[in-house]
Structures are given as C-alpha cells and as structure tokens.
Subunit: 448 residues, 2 copies
C-alpha cells in the first residue's frame, strides 16, 4: 500500500548501505531500524550529556560513532563505549560515514565554517550555537536546503524547552503576532535574587558567577546580547520575520536597583528582563530590556534560571512554554530531540516556512512607564519635572515615595500612563541636566 | 545534491498529478508548492474555524476542497469560497481527490468507521476526536501505517496547546517518566469559581453550563472520563505506554465543597482536578482525581478553562505547556498545525515511536492526604478516628478545625503524612459506619 520508497539503510538518502556495509561488521538490519550515525564536536558539559543520553537510551536508532575534541582527553572519558572513535580533527568527520554532526563548540568561527563544510559534505547538522544561528541562520538553512541536508537548532533557545519546534510546527496553524519571553537565565537569577532576598545587583551577579550561572564577563547576559540572539531566532521561527540581532532594541539590567522592586510591588508588579518581538500594522518591534510585569503574569512567576516563552496568535491566543533553559542535561535533551526528529524524517524534512514578507522595524513602542529619579531633595522638584512631562503631553499616573531615605539621596518614582517610549526619552533628555538629580533616571516600561 | 525524489504534485505519494490533472483546470505548479487538498467532515464550531483559517491563511499550501455536513446547510455559510464542494455523503470524499480528511464529528461511531475507510482509501486523517483516539488510537495508527498514510490527533488533547507534538518530538530526546496536567476545562472552571468566589459546587456547574463550558450532562467532565481519555493519549505520546482509559483510576470532583478550599488554603494549597500518569519501578500509575496542590505549583495557577501539562523527564526535568484547551479557534489551530505538518512531510512522516515495553498498572500510590470529616460533634471523635488510623500505621500530620460551624454538622480536616492510598481507604472503610459521621469522609491526595 505504501507507494513511497522505503528508506534505505542510510537515513539520509545517500547511496544505500554505504556506511553499514562499509564497516562490514554489523548485520544489515531491516530498513526501518537503520542506524543514524552521530558525531559530536565539542565535548564540554552539553557534549558529554548528549553522549550519555545516546549511549544510555539510543533513542530513534541513533548511534554515537565519533567524538571530536581538542581540549578533552579520551582517557578521562572511561564510560564512553570502545567503538566510539575519538579524534581532534574535524576534517576526519567530514570524510567519515557519520550522518549527523552535532556542533557544540559555540561562537561564530570556526564553528560556522565547520557547519558549512559538513553540510557541503552531505552531513546534516544539529547545533546549540545561538550566536551563529542568530547571525547566520538564514544563510546556513539555505545551504542545508541546497545540499539536501538538514540544520536543526532547537537547543539554541531555551535549552530543554522545545519552543522552536512548538512555534514552527506545533503552532503552525496559527498566525502568531507576538513572542515574549524570559530567555536569559543569568539575568533572571540576578533579578529574582534581588526581588526575593533584597540582594544588591553586584552581589547577585557575583552569586550567579559562583553558582556557574554567569560567565566571568557577564556583559553579554546583563546587557541583553544573549537574549537578543535568542529573540532573533524565536522571531524567525514564530513570526516568520528575518529579524537580525541588531534589529533588537537592547537595554541593560545594570541600572535596576533593589529599591525598584519595592516600588514595583506597590504597582502590583515585579521586574524581569523581558524579550519581546511583535508585529502590528505591517511592522515589527523587538526589544530586550528590564521591564515591570504584573505579579500575576506568567513572566513574573519565572524563578531563578528558568526560561519561559509566551506565543500569542490570532486564533489560539496565548500559549506558554517553560522549563529549564540551560544546563548540560536540558540542553542535551534539545539536541537529542533534534537528532530523533532528523532520524525520523531521514534528513529529508521540509524546509522551514519562508518569511512572510520583508518587514519594517520599529524602534518606538507605547506602554505605561515607570521612572525612578534619585534626587537631592528640595521644594519644587515634582513641579519642575511635571512641567517637562506636560510639555511633552505625557500624563502622570502616580507619584510614589517610600519613607526612610536620606534627603541627600532620595529615590522616588513617577508612573506614567501609556505613552511613546521615544517621546518619554525626549522628555528625560531635558530632565537629565537638572541640578537636583544625583544619578540618571531609571526608565522601565510596564508590560502587560 | 538532494538524492531524495522531489515530491510529486500530490503531497501524499500517490500517482503523480492524479488530482491536479484530473480536474484539468489548474496549471500544474512546481512540485515544491503543490497543494494539499483538505476535506472537513463535521461543520460545527471547530470545523468552521478550521475552514476560516484555511481560507484566510492557506498555510503550508493547504487548500480546503470539500466540506461534508448533514446538519448545516451550505446556504448558511456564505463566506465559504464557491469552489469548496459541499456534500452530505462521506463516501463521496473517499472517492474524491482529497489528500486529507479532517474528522470533526466526534464519538466512537460512525467516526471510527469513516476514519478506517479513509485510511484504506489512501487518505491521511486529522482528527480532534479524543474519545476515539483514546479507545482505538493504537489500532488506527497501525492501520494508517499499513496504508502508508498518516493519522494526526494533536487537537484531541489540550486544544491549542501543542502538547502531543511536544511530548512525541520536542522532548523525544528525554526519557519522560511523568505527565501531569489540568486537562478538563469544565472541572477547572468549576473548581476555580468555587475557589475564587466561594460559589457552591452546583451553582458553579450551572454557571459553566450557561457559559457553554459544560455539557447539559456534565458527567463525563465532572467524573473524570473526559480527562482520562486525554490522559491515555498523553501517556502514550509521552511515556510510550499503552495506557487504556480503563487503566486510569477515576474520582469525581462532585464531593469537593467550598469549605475544602478554606481548609486547603490553611495547608498552603488549592484544589484541582489533576490528571497524572507516572512510571516507576517498571509499573505505571494513572489517575484523574481532585487533589490538593500547593499554591505555588503551576497546577494551582491554571484559571478557568485553561489547560496545562507538565512533562517530567530524567534529563530535562519539568517542562510546562499551557494555554487555551478548548474553544473553536484554539482547537482549530491544533487541527491546522497537524495539517501543515502532514503537508510538510507529504503524508510520509515517521511512525510514532513504539511503546517502550508492556507495563504493569498500579492502582495504589503514596502521598500525603487530606480527609474532611463532617460530624455531629461529641467528645471522643478524634480519639476514635486516631485509633483506627494508628491501627493502620497511618500518621496524622495535623487536625484543622475552623470556627463558626454548627455542632450538628461540623466539618474538620485531618491531614496525613505520606501513606498508601489503598491502606488509607481500608481505614476509611472502618470509619464510614461510625455513628457520628453525618456524611462520608472526603479524601483528597496532596500532590507536590
């Protein structure tokens, strides 16, 4: 009854039996259970976890055949089966019989060139490399397509949470117009520690570093570059727009202080680094920034290094995905899931849907805002500020001032009704030189 | 470079050009954009929403070509394009050139026989029919496989939340051992209304009926049959065990009273209808029952008719999926997503992974428990109860009694440390005849 040809013993559509017969050791099994031969390049935490899962569970007829590592010595990996070949030469994999190369080295180069060579050599590729996919994803996908192979990167965003396949496939029937999320575990750890224990920013960062959640140089995390790369990947998968990392507005969380959580709570909110991309009226807005979110929002409930993504569609409304966004094992689950999927479609899965249309990128957005001013107190400060905001047609919603701070360095907050972020910035530009400010205002949107 | 044959103009691998050429009207388009012809059987809320999405967005080259309905008259559906053929005869679809039949009639028969006939006639099938899939899923999947066609049922559980594909594919790299969820919107609506507004059970059910969340006969929802069918489907997808609906322990939510929410809150909990299936030590336990869940748990946060699923894996930990579990549009999104996926793999997607192993089913489980007694008060009641529990080696954790209730009908609660549910039932069997009880004890597990 099945008029499609059965898969050959090779999962990826090349000359039948090439690999299996060439080794001449294993019996040729029925076509349905043919092996998919996997090589891992990069044998850090994630690589080892992928290897462990492959060796323990062998899901989907996957077989680990090669590991390529320059830093790790094979002798340290006693648990690895004897028939896994160890090499420090990526070139050896390209001329081998592996079907899929798992790239876990990270960074733009040489990972990018390795992936290009692998695809050209007829290998499919699975990668967790968010930076590379964010910057070169469309080009690499095109190359994979031209080579008749596949490129999968489910592990590049939100670790173990299968959000890329959910956006691309699970919600393919909807017209998604917004993707929001908590995509950076370091920032979320820092902000939730400040929130729950009142830990100052610098101390929370240090804690995260000690626990291995933050890099020695945490700039990419704190200033939003890491999340912007992930957001670009998510926006392509979900909104089908070719968003680049540089199209994403970025604001650091470094300005957020413990006192902001106290004021936020008075407004029924907390503070999170929120990544969001949304389409409206034919244009796209994308940003990664600290923002106030209502305490009842799913965004507010994400604790520690967890990740969460909310996809909003025209038909299905909001769908929420959350789980462990980082760590060796969850990320390895995403890698192995991609491998299983590749093996299922025998490397011949469909090309991801093309972008809907070229879009304009907006840099402005409307929302309520929270601005904290820190001043040397004297009479007339509120009046001076209110005059500037009034000139810019910005409506003040409330003024919050907690007792107990010294007059020489007094923090207070103005909450604004929904206004243009750009116009608010213009007003703040006029305010920054005013002599009573002892540090620049801290401006956070309030997102619903 | 692509050594796989390009798809023919027919997405599903039958004789090339059969459909397109037979009609003789449309130009043969490039193979890459060949249409996937869709027929909808059953034109209620979901069917109309599927039709609207297909006509508005035409995702994945899907084209609605036929609608089969006995109840609805075509004249009432003015918005439907003229070239969509209307019929009241399912047989006409089987001999037509449609590629996929979307079954939205529901129920075991005649839907089951239609699906069997469709698969035998070389059509793939997409269905939202949880009852049929719960009862006959494995048989129908086998038939689909033998026929070289596909059967997809992403809409059968949790409506718009793409949880079946997430369990089967997105988390394929993990070894899932537990699936828990809030799978019945009616029960969750009723329980959250009792929780938030103190509405009595019967009134909350009536409200749900008025709002269209509950059927005229809500028994299938309240007594757990609906959720048990969904749980069976989820357990197959996630745990890969052949769980039948009858293997699921079921308890009605009818015994839960508004007062239980007050006592639950004293224990830091609320009450939800929780569906769960878990493997341990080679056996499977599955249940749908009202249970106490901690207020901080994702299960506690599900409001109204939302659905939520938590998958727990050996490697990736907990991954949470939530969104709108019912309603025409979200369910239609799930149907169309299945259609897009079928069109992508050209009806030739891989067979879902086989069950891991035959498993034993357990009917007992260990957990802390909450039992509410309603008594005609007199001295010695606690002592009488404590004696029975002590005889059964069950440890009491605390006794809660709120003031303000009449002595003639006094509710109080005993919270138990983790114990066997079966042993606790044995103890309660001894207690039920005691003369001071004015209604049977209400026994709810406390789940973490």
């Amino acid at each position: 009854m099945n008029s499609e040809p059965l898969p050959s013993c090779n999962w990826f559509g090349e000359a039948p039996n090439r690999g299996v017969m060439a080794r001449g050791k294993r019996p040729v099994r029925s076509a349905r259970v043919a092996e998919c031969r996997v090589a891992i390049v990069g044998f850090g935490t994630v690589g080892r976890s992928v290897a462990r899962i492959l060796c323990q569970s062998a899901p989907g007829s996957l077989r680990l055949t090669h590991v390529c590592s320059r830093r790790v010595r094979r002798q340290e990996m006693e648990w690895l089966p004897d028939d896994v070949r160890w090499t420090d030469n990526v070139g050896e994999l390209l001329s081998s019989d592996v079907d899929v190369i798992v790239e876990l080295v990270g960074g733009l180069e040489p990972a990018g060139e390795w992936i290009r060579s692998a695809l050209r050599a007829g290998k499919s590729v699975v990668t967790a490399n968010k930076r590379l996919i964010a910057h070169c994803g469309p080009e690499l996908l095109e190359l994979a397509h031209q080579s008749g192979r596949q490129l999968a990167f489910g592990a590049s965003v939100a670790g173990g949470v299968p959000v890329i396949s959910a956006l691309q496939d699970g919600l393919a029937g909807d017209r998604l117009w917004q993707v929001r999320g908590i995509l950076n575990g370091t920032c979320n750890y820092v902000l939730t520690r400040m929130e729950s224990a009142g830990v100052p920013f610098a101390a929370a960062v240090e804690e995260a570093q000690k626990l291995g959640f933050a890099e020695a140089d945490p700039g990419e995390d704190l200033d939003g570059l890491d999340a912007a790369a992930k957001l670009a990947i998510l926006a392509r998968a979900g909104l089908r727009v070719q968003l680049g990392v540089d199209d994403v507005l970025r604001r650091s969380i470094r300005d957020v202080a413990a006192v902001d959580f106290l004021y936020a709570r008075e407004l029924g909110c907390t503070i999170r680094q929120v990544s969001r991309a949304e389409m409206s009226g034919g244009s796209v807005f994308a940003a990664v920034q600290p923002a106030l979110v209502p305490l009842a929002s799913p965004l507010a409930r994400v604790q520690g290094s967890e990740n969460l993504v909310i996809a909003t569609g025209e038909f299905g409304g909001e769908t929420v995905f959350s789980g462990f966004g980082a760590g060796g094992d969850p990320t390895a689950v995403a890698v192995v899931s991609d491998l299983v999927s590749l093996a299922k479609t025998r490397g011949n899965g469909a090309r991801p849907a093309a972008p809907r249309a070229a879009r304009e990128f907006r840099s402005d957005f409307f929302s309520p805002h929270y601005v904290r001013f820190t001043v040397k107190d004297r009479p007339g400060i509120i009046a001076a500020l209110a005059t500037v905001f009034s000139e810019h047609q910005i409506n003040i919603d409330s003024v919050l001032q907690k007792p107990g701070y010294p007059k020489s360095s007094l923090p207070f907050v103005i909450a604004f009704e929904a206004c243009s972020a750009a116009v608010l910035e213009q007003a703040l530009d006029k305010i920054r030189p005013l002599e009573f400010l002892i540090q620049p205002p801290v401006n956070l949107p309030v997102l619903n």
